[in-house]
């Protein structure tokens, strides 16, 4: 009887919650568990590579290399609220607290895997860095190379303003050819075009479904909130090109469509729709967004999860990959960021925006004060900049952030 009473209580508590969890979260856990197992197995078999989030993963995958992602691992460190400890392992070696907390998590956990979540990432046989997301990755992967002995490959994609020039494209394309040489030599494998096309197709399918789920958030009420997207984006970041990734995004899209057709929102009482800019504070992602959900605030769009778009297709797959991976959000100038935010605010019918100035991520946060002004000018909606970090909770002052967000919300009264 007591158990039943407890269950009833729990159900009614769930009913009262402002936020509706996705059923797909269960499937996500399974997919991510598989990712961990596959990573461990690949490491044992000598075919594991660590990759940066914006690396053209389709090429190593087509060559039989299994990827794993230190940035995603940083998010795990953050979510488990051990950022200060694991980053501390790197700081003890002399790394500055100013260094990216993803880099510190990765270096710290490589130094002390036994004291880190999941016992650190499995040992890599190669380190594949692409600087389309930031310049820190090169020195970070160099440091990991010193610690693990795995060789580093850098795919250089210089940042640019406006349109990508032909010489830029040719340069990045030549980098992809060098990548194939590097992988062939390091792993004693070769690339079959047919296999690359197959992987690229899987990757495009997953990205296509992901994009459709994101775009469904234009509806009122929005079927997904920020934390939903930040958690369900994991497979599109880490397992692009695998068949089961496409299955996961089909399941997610089905659930999103069902919510849309029944008018079910990600939060119970949607009143204010905001845009989120930058990586989230992983250590308080649910607390932060659910706290705002209780006040009727939903985030139907953000600049981060929209970054995984673009399909590798056409006759020349290398040229297509060079175009897609050069044109990522963080590799372009300030105007491209302002345009993207403006477009999202208009298309998703948003009332305002929150920009998270992430101490770690200089490439993402640089220029936010200026873009805030420009976006308000272009859209007429107010925004606010809050400061903190994605992993290092020591840099996150809740009271100060609360005041800024509250003041923004008071502007809508």
């Amino acid at each position: 009887m007591e158990v039943r009473a407890n269950l009833v209580e729990q159900n009614s508590a769930r009913e009262k919650k402002a936020y509706r969890p996705l059923n797909t979260q269960d499937l996500l856990q399974k997919v991510l568990f598989r990712y961990v197992l596959e990573g461990n197995a690949a490491s044992d078999e000598g075919r594991l590579a660590w990759l940066t989030s914006g690396f053209p993963v389709e090429i190593p995958v087509a060559m039989g290399i299994t990827p794993t992602y230190p940035e995603q691992y940083g998010a795990v460190v953050g979510s488990q609220k051990v950022g200060p400890t694991v980053c501390g392992f790197a700081e003890e070696m002399g790394y500055s607290q100013e260094l990216c907390s993803y880099a510190r998590s990765s270096i710290g956990s490589t130094r002390k895997p036994e004291e880190s979540p999941l016992e650190g990432l499995p040992k890599p046989q190669a380190l594949l860095a692409c600087n389309n997301i930031c310049g820190t990755v090169l020195r970070w992967y160099d440091a990991i190379s010193e610690m693990t002995g795995a060789p580093v490959f850098l795919l250089d994609t210089p940042p640019f303003e406006g349109q990508q020039q032909p010489h830029h494209l040719a340069y990045v394309r030549s980098g992809l050819e060098r990548l194939v040489e590097f992988l062939s030599k390091t792993f004693d494998v070769s690339l079959e075009e047919e296999r690359l096309r197959e992987v690229a197709e899987n990757s495009s399918k997953a990205i296509g479904l992901w994009t459709k789920s994101l775009e469904a958030c234009k509806t009122r009420p929005s079927p997904l909130n920020c934390a939903d997207r930040f958690t369900t984006m994991a497979p599109v970041v880490t397992m692009r090109g695998a068949e089961h990734t496409t299955e996961f995004y089909q399941a997610l899209y089905d659930e999103v469509q069902e919510r849309v057709s029944k008018g079910i929102g990600a939060i119970r009482d949607e009143k204010i729709r905001l845009l989120w800019d930058n990586i989230p504070p992983w250590f308080s992602i649910f607390k932060f967004f659910n706290g705002l959900a209780e006040r009727g605030v939903v985030f139907p769009a953000d600049t981060y999860t929209h970054a995984w778009s673009g399909s590798i297709e056409g006759r020349d797959l290398f040229e297509s990959a060079a175009t897609v991976y050069s044109n990522v959000y963080l590799n372009k100038g300030l105007q491209a960021k302002v345009d993207k935010m403006t477009e999202l605010i208009k298309n998703y019918d948003l009332d305002g925006f929150v920009m998270f100035s992430v101490r770690s991520c200089k490439r993402y946060s640089l220029g936010q004060l200026v873009s805030k002004e420009l976006v308000t000018e272009a859209t007429g909606v107010p925004g606010v900049v809050i400061e903190g970090d994605m992993v290092d909770s020591r840099l996150f002052n809740e009271a100060q952030i609360q005041t800024r967000i509250d003041a923004l919300l008071e502007m809508f009264e």
Binding site: V384, D406, E410
Partner: protein, 259 residues
């Protein structure tokens, strides 16, 4: 007399706690200010008791809105509103023409663009660092061996301000100690300290946009040297209410009158 016609605003700041009582027309009936100390809740209680004693009203029956960093500690308040909105409303009540508000408190500084209806339309805060806050001046006053109230008038006696390059409280402290050691005139150093702080606040203000007329509030607004150097930096005269520390509490009191 119906107590509903009165309103109270309680501003629990990091350094001082302020209470203001208004009547239904927004006229200030009384105010009180105490040091916040270690407990915002007890400072708020002391403020209210004094307000009740001065006005003869039963403060427990008057609608109260809390604001400031300690706003959530005040459980008897009908609601809490951020100091950003409250300062804006308070200043607008006193001078509806004001379009930009610079508030420099003990632990933070804020610049607020005031809309025509008195609500903020944009703002910027400096709250991670004590540079550009009252705390910066407190530390400098201690190093220069001058009381915080005397620091401004002392600095205004200088004809040739020193250049203080750092606005970081910690680094500026060592810089000032160095200047003292080098035999520079303390008045010139004090003037340099104010100029450095004004430069920091002026930069913050430019981020929001220097729309005139501009108002200064907060405890630091009482310092004449700060007003002098800030006015020079932003290139315009600054308007200051009679009680610049009370505008947040006043705004909260005005909001408490709203149905």
């Amino acid at each position: 007399m119906s107590q509903r016609k009165l309103g109270i605003g309680l501003d629990v700041g990091s350094t001082t706690t302020k209470a203001v009582m208004v009547d239904s027309s927004g006229k200030i009936l009384g105010s009180h200010l105490v040091a916040t100390g270690a407990s915002g809740a007890s400072a708020a209680k002391r403020c209210l008791e004094e307000l009740g004693r001065k006005s003869g009203a039963d403060t427990a029956c008057v609608a109260t809105i809390s604001t400031g960093y300690g706003r959530s500690l005040i459980d008897f308040a009908e609601k809490s509103v951020t100091e950003i909105t409250c300062h804006s409303i308070g200043v607008h009540h006193l001078n509806p023409g004001i379009r930009l508000l610079i508030d420099v408190g003990g632990q933070d500084s804020k610049v607020i663009r005031v809309g025509e209806n008195g609500r903020p339309t944009d703002f910027e805060l400096n709250d991670k660092c004590s540079a550009g806050t009252g705390r910066f001046l407190e530390v400098m006053a201690r190093v220069l061996d001058v009381s915080i109230d005397e620091l401004g008038p002392f600095a205004l006696q200088s004809n040739s301000p020193s250049t203080i390059s750092s606005t970081c409280t910690v680094f500026a402290e060592s810089e000032v100690v160095g200047r003292i050691g080098a035999g520079e005139n303390p008045k010139d150093i004090a003037a340099g300290v104010h100029a450095a702080m004004a430069s920091k606040i002026s930069t913050l203000s430019r981020r929001v946009g220097l729309t005139t007329p501009i108002c200064v509030t907060g405890g630091v607004a009482l310092n004449p040297a700060f007003r002098y150097y800030l006015s020079k930096q932003v290139g315009t005269e600054l308007w200051m209410p009679d009680n610049p520390q009370l505008t947040g509490a006043l705004g909260a009191a005005i909001l408490s009158l709203e149905p």
